[in-house]
């Protein structure tokens, strides 16, 4: 089962009418490295027009730029990162991050790792993992460019984190996923439901490992840039039933996730998850999980 109509029909059943989308380039200011007002003035002097992203802090869409914003002195000095707007949401959902031991389980190329480090003011420790050396090299370059000092990176599968013998306070699971058509123009030609199911199974394995290494009072933020329920609501419903976790309320951009998906009635806490359809941003799904405390 594949093809554009197949997937568009599924989105319809979830309550969204497919529309093509043109994404705006977004940046996030690394406030540990530069004053926001100073950087905005520097952009203006270079005739780069910015638009604040209303649902994020220290984040802007690039309205107009006479040259690539990925080649300015300010970029090379690590004053900002180029990071799609929806992708900036997950790291902001943790209750507090300073001095914590944090895991970024699928970290490369490192946009969210740098964002976590910025939110932590370079305190505590981030463990950043990826399974591909080439992608980890890109992450290392990103860390050096942004002057990150609190991150340890390992070439490691997120399903094997227990080998580190560390319990984590916060875990970011921006898991490998099927992606969406907003960031991949060939998405409908490329993807099948079998890909989605294969990714969903991998994501469940990563989720299960993450719960094992989470402190009892810790937090997991789970996110995908997939629009497919198998990788989102259905996986979180599975986690609530098999991993003794529950989805916690979050405040961020996006729609309340549905508790009735593809003919299945899901756990009521799924309504605490957020689904973002591609309009102003790419498609995204995000939620926060905590271990259930039994009375």
């Amino acid at each position: 089962m594949s093809g554009k109509q197949f997937f568009v029909d599924r989105y319809n059943k979830l309550g969204w009418n497919y529309k093509p989308v043109e994404l705006k380039q977004a940046i996030r200011i690394n406030i540990n490295n530069v004053g926001e007002a100073d950087l905005v003035r520097r952009f203006e002097s270079r005739r780069i027009k910015l638009e604040p992203i209303p649902f994020l802090s220290h984040a802007y869409w690039i309205r107009k730029s006479p040259f690539s914003v990925g080649a300015t002195t300010e970029y090379l000095l690590g004053y900002y990162s180029i990071q799609e707007a929806a992708a900036q949401i997950p790291a902001t959902l943790f209750a507090d991050l300073e001095d914590k031991v944090v895991l970024d389980a699928c970290a490369a190329p490192g946009g969210k790792t740098v964002q976590l480090a910025d939110l932590m003011h370079n305190t505590g420790v981030i463990f950043a993992l990826d399974i591909e050396k080439r992608r980890l090299t890109a992450l290392a370059n990103h860390l050096e460019r942004c002057h990150i000092e609190n991150t340890i990176a390992y070439l490691m599968d997120a399903r094997s984190v227990s080998h580190l013998k560390i319990k984590f306070d916060r875990i970011l699971l921006d898991v490998p996923c099927s992606g969406n058509f907003a960031t991949d123009k060939q998405w409908f030609q490329r993807r099948t439901i079998e890909d989605v199911q294969r990714n969903a199974e991998l994501q469940r394995q990563i989720l299960a490992e993450a719960v094992r290494i989470l402190h009892d009072d810790g937090e997991i933020v789970y996110s995908t840039c997939s629009l497919e329920s198998e990788e989102n609501e259905l996986n979180i419903d599975w986690a609530t039933k098999h991993l003794n976790v529950q989805a916690e309320p979050i405040v961020c951009y996006g729609e309340t996730a549905s508790t009735e998906v593809l003919g299945k009635q899901l756990s009521s806490s799924i309504a605490n998850c957020k689904r973002i359809w591609p309009t102003q941003t790419q498609g995204f799904f995000v939620c926060k999980l905590k271990k259930r405390v039994d009375p």
Partner: protein, 146 residues
């Protein structure tokens, strides 16, 4: 400049400075850790941009401050012409290494002085050879992509 040696980790010729929490938790098989200081190749140490920024904070560091045009040329890998240098701090001697800073005091990299930078000397075309500049991050990205 002194760093606490017990907080430095070495991995395959690369050096990293660890904060106490990272030092406590890191294991030997790490890929990257803490603040990257630089790498050693065939007995020569190449400082990272994090280390260069640390050195730039020190008063005794050799520095040249360059104008806007020279800043742009330098980060695309070009050498520094004498006419683009606004100020010299520290050594002006031939073969000395010097940080290259922009007008805002930001470290763009470093170079080697090719001719004495004494004022009044006959002006050579290239005064400071580019050894390393922050534009390297873009060049590395291209290498990874291909």
């Amino acid at each position: 400049m002194e760093l606490d040696e017990t907080s430095i980790a070495k991995k395959g010729g690369r050096y990293f400075l660890l904060n106490p929490e990272s030092k406590r938790l890191v294991s030997d098989d790490f890929f990257y850790a803490g603040a990257y200081l630089g790498k050693e190749r065939r007995g020569v140490f190449f400082p990272s941009f994090i280390l260069l920024a640390m050195i730039a904070e020190r008063k005794e560091a050799n520095k040249i401050i360059v104008d806007d045009k020279t800043e742009w040329l330098f980060i695309v890998g070009r050498d520094v012409f004498k006419r683009g240098i606004l100020q010299v701090v520290g050594s002006r001697r031939k073969n000395a290494h010097t940080l290259v800073m922009n007008k805002r005091g930001e470290c763009l990299g470093f170079g080697r002085i090719l001719h004495n930078l004494e004022e009044g000397e006959a002006k050579p075309k290239v005064a400071v050879e580019n050894v390393s500049d922050v534009g390297d991050f873009l060049r590395r990205e291209r290498t990874i992509e291909h």
